[in-house]
Amino acid sequence: MNVYAQFNEHEFIYDTFRKEDALHIVLDGQESAFDLAELGNGRYALIKNGHSFLIHLLKQNDVYHVHVNGAYYAISVEDERMRKLKELVAASHSGPAEQMIKAPIPGFVLKVQVEAGQVVKKGDPLLILEAMKMENVIKANCDCRVEEIIIQEQEAVQQNQDLMRLVTVDKD
């Protein structure tokens, strides 16, 4: 069965199957010999084709947060079945999808940079949240229209508090 791992714009497509009680993982026709030892606390010692790594892995909200050699990756994984299921759901879904923007950290709303009804592009700044004396720009994560602005400037917000409701803009 194919398993897809996505990181930024990259996608790695692994062919995985079980044979003689062993798990086989093939990428681009190359099979990896591997040994994964769990060290506890989300730490793993991986040897893959002789190359040795210490890996930190933490799964949160379906995203794998992975550290290798001081580098950090946020990776999404899904298999063939899940992907097909998702496509079916997406196709059957009518009307624009709704997105709730939540506060990633507790803070203080310094500035709201959009207005209700405004159309924004993915990456456009929505508001500035101040926390730990630092300004944090909260950006749109899709091409959207701002449906509702729930908070106000100068308001203190808790982590995960709803800030804005967006709806995706139909590209067709």
Binding site: A5, F12, Y14, L23, L27, G42, G50, V68, P104
Partner: protein, 500 residues
Amino acid sequence: MLKKILIANRGEIALRIIRTCKEMGIGSVAVFSEIDRKSPFVYAADEAYPLGGITSQESYLQWQKILDIAKACGADAIHPGYGFLSENADFSEAVSAAGLTFIGPPAQAIRLMGNKTAARKLMIAHNVPTVPGTEDAVQDVQEAQKIARDIGYPVLVKAAAGGGGKGMRLVESDEQFAEAVEGAGREAQSAFGDGSVYIEKFVEEPRHIEFQILSDANGKTIHLGERECSIQRRHQKVVEESPSSLLDEKLRAEMGAAAIRAAEACDYRGAGTIEFLVDKHKKFYFLEMNTRLQVEHPVTELVSGLDLVQEQILIASGEPMTRTHSLEQFWGHAVECRLYAENPENNFAPSPGTIVFLKAADGPGIREDSGVTQGSEISLYYDPMISKLIAWGANREQAMNRMIRALQEYEILGIHTTIPFLIKVMEHPAFRSGNFTTHFIEEYKDALFTPTEETAETAAFTAVLDYLNEKSRIAIKTSSNGKEANSLWKTIHRSKALRS
């Protein structure tokens, strides 16, 4: 010699000071906010007393409470660290008035150097170069042009009431001057209702280079060489090193002498730092003086062999300093990286949380000044800097290589840190060449913020293994009717492993 020192600070710098106290056989007293009850600096100190409160305002800035505790526990001195009360002249005075020793300069020196205009005038009077410019706004174009010619192009024309780049012009030659002043004036007039402008020398390819100075109880001042602090993000230093690749012996001697003049000008005592900007012609200009211990003091310690906190305590005790001459020969090279609990992938957003696993780097040439440990909770209430990693090498290349090695092996789980970003800085060709300016991060941001792809496939591979393992566990769980299932790894991971 002082007998018991209260440290009016928290985090890594409190721990740093406590350690020197222990090594000198001096008692150490911590004071702490409610948030910091479980912090390493609290249990590292010989004594600890609660300040109550959560925010800095409610705790570490509560002088009267701190003074009361100091008197009650019999401390004979207060070390303010950096930040908080360290550059507060009134506090320094109150400490002295309470009959205790303030480990820092006299209130007068703090006050003088804390006032930008006064400090600038004092420096000019003592022949310490400052960024040339007009003190007051000029409205007459011809007079302004005369000043610009004196300063030498390029100059900046800046709106007196300005900000945000409005009413600002960069003037590269005399011919452009009149038009630029008029344009800036018009723009300022319309933006701020005030058309007056200043003229200031434009510092080209600026580098932030500072000198560590020590002044003993008699006012005898020496310098301990420079620190290169040009790698900054939003005017916050990120990486520091000593010595600087820019300075040669001649420039070092000139700047060192200027730094000593600056300290003598304000009748300084203790450890202080004179910050300079150096332009592409190697002309240097006084920026400001920090009248306290600097965050980046460890790089100077490594190349000088001194313990600067010990020198501060010696000076405050009226004892002679360890050295009596300025540092002329550096012992190798040292680099410091500040570790922040921030997510560089998300615009350096603070990353509060609990450190669920921590294994610092060790081995040759690595020093760490940390304020946290496994289990520490990083809150949003204080500065997000959690630790400083310092690498020493026989030369700059070895120091950088050791730093990369240490950053790569540093393990911290549960919060985001700036480690991935710092590795990119250390590896960047411009940083490695030693040829960079304070614009480094802005200039190379594309390279510095591109995720590393080298180990991406390995990360993806491990995530896939975990995904498959979890799925098969669920499958087993379901089929065996809720019975606790074993990890599939135990059966799969060895089977293919290491056969090749």
